[in-house]
Point group: none
Chain length 211, copies 2
DNA sequence: GGGGAAATACAGCATTTGTGGTATTTTAAC
DNA sequence: GTTAAAATACCACAAATGCTGTATTTCCCC
């Protein structure tokens, strides 16, 4: 259920009213764009936004109450046809990464010139993902895996089985060693990963791409 | 061991000699750039490239013998300070994804205008990741997770704490509920995720991006 | 206003886990 | 050829976990 005229319908979620007003005026005043819906918080957007069928939503991250990232997580499934662009001052890897995972299709920094912002909205509407070259580098860095594993081959092997929830006896049988040995390996793994439970080990295994 | 003058040293790995010659002339003829090394295959590059300490390598994917993707996998560890840009006609998700995992820092399509190519080389040299908005969309699509979580908000909250290795009592205290309730929630989480251990739950949480 | 999740709470029990040790053998490195 | 790291093996015990139940309250949807 998308409004299908020539106009790109844009909504804004932003708590700084001066910014959102200025932004809204610029967008709404540009040929080919409409911006009739501005929300001060995710709570408000959550209630009202899905009914307005926007093409593109500009979303701040730092908001009172629910963050923009959590907001997208909840909104995106309700409106899969709508593209979300983060428009924020946050530039840390965490924010970028989590926003994209949450469902954002673009990531822009607030100091972007209005002309470029409008271009970016056009791009996302056309199926692209506008972001600066610097942001893109941070994104693709997450594909890279530089730091070498602190674990030995055997330990990595055991960590994989740990991740599958196998108990000591099963692991022992599978590797043809005693379960005592498995316990020793696991102690060493925990030591090296600086954890003290299986759950943490599994978490670290995935976060650090050890498996 | 990087050559540290004002010039960006570019190498090209490309089997179509007309393309590589033209490209080389354009780059080498531009102020601030040098392009003295062109290779027709990865095998050749593998032997000679690491000795020339280039800043940026333009790499084709479709090559006779070793592909550009396999080439980067072997070359990048030998020259971590060098940035690789894929310059190719391939636009499929596989090629893009695998190139970036292999270690590429940029991804451009061969029909890019020379001026933009030069800009992209500058960008990657400055620590960015040049790619078109359309390519970027494909990249970030790999972060997205369409299938909705089967878990309730509360369950997700508890799953996060489970991932951190918190025990029942700690989780209970943190959420101001009894540890009995925590156990019930966890039973339901395991049921919904079709697992029967904490480790499997954590694994599934990460693989299905539930946390 | 009735049905169904979701969230809450409680109890018992066998199994598994985490952690404190000690100790031998093999492999790799210098 | 000595040293270090890795892989192997064993013991014991307190704590945590997984499983099988039952049960109430709240809230949302039809």
């Amino acid at each position: 259920m998308k409004i299908t005229d020539e106009i790109i319908h844009v909504a804004i979620v932003e708590d700084d009213e001066e910014i959102s007003r200025t932004l809204g005026l610029i967008i709404d005043g540009t040929k080919g764009f409409a911006c009739k819906h501005i929300y001060n918080s995710c709570e408000e957007a959550l209630k009202l936004l899905p009914e307005t069928f926007p093409d593109v939503v500009l979303m701040d991250i730092h908001l009172p109450g629910i963050t923009g990232i959590e907001g997208i997580k909840k909104l995106k499934p309700k409106m899969p046809g709508t593209d979300f662009i983060m428009l924020t001052i946050q530039q840390d890897d965490e924010s970028i990464f989590e926003s994209l995972v949450a469902g954002a299709s673009g990531y822009l920094i607030k100091d972007i010139p209005p002309t470029e912002l409008l271009n970016s909205i056009r791009e996302v509407y056309a199926g692209g993902s506008p972001m600066s070259s610097a942001i893109a580098r941070k994104v693709i860095s997450s594909f890279h895996n530089n730091d070498p594993s602190p674990l030995s081959d055997r330990e990595t092997e055991i960590l994989k089985l740990l991740c599958d929830g196998k108990n000591y006896r099963v692991i022992a049988d599978q590797l043809f060693i005693s379960s005592h040995t498995v316990r020793t390996h696991i102690k060493n793994i925990y030591e090296k990963l600086q954890v003290n439970s299986r759950a943490e080990a599994v978490q670290k295994a995935f976060k650090n791409k050890l498996v």
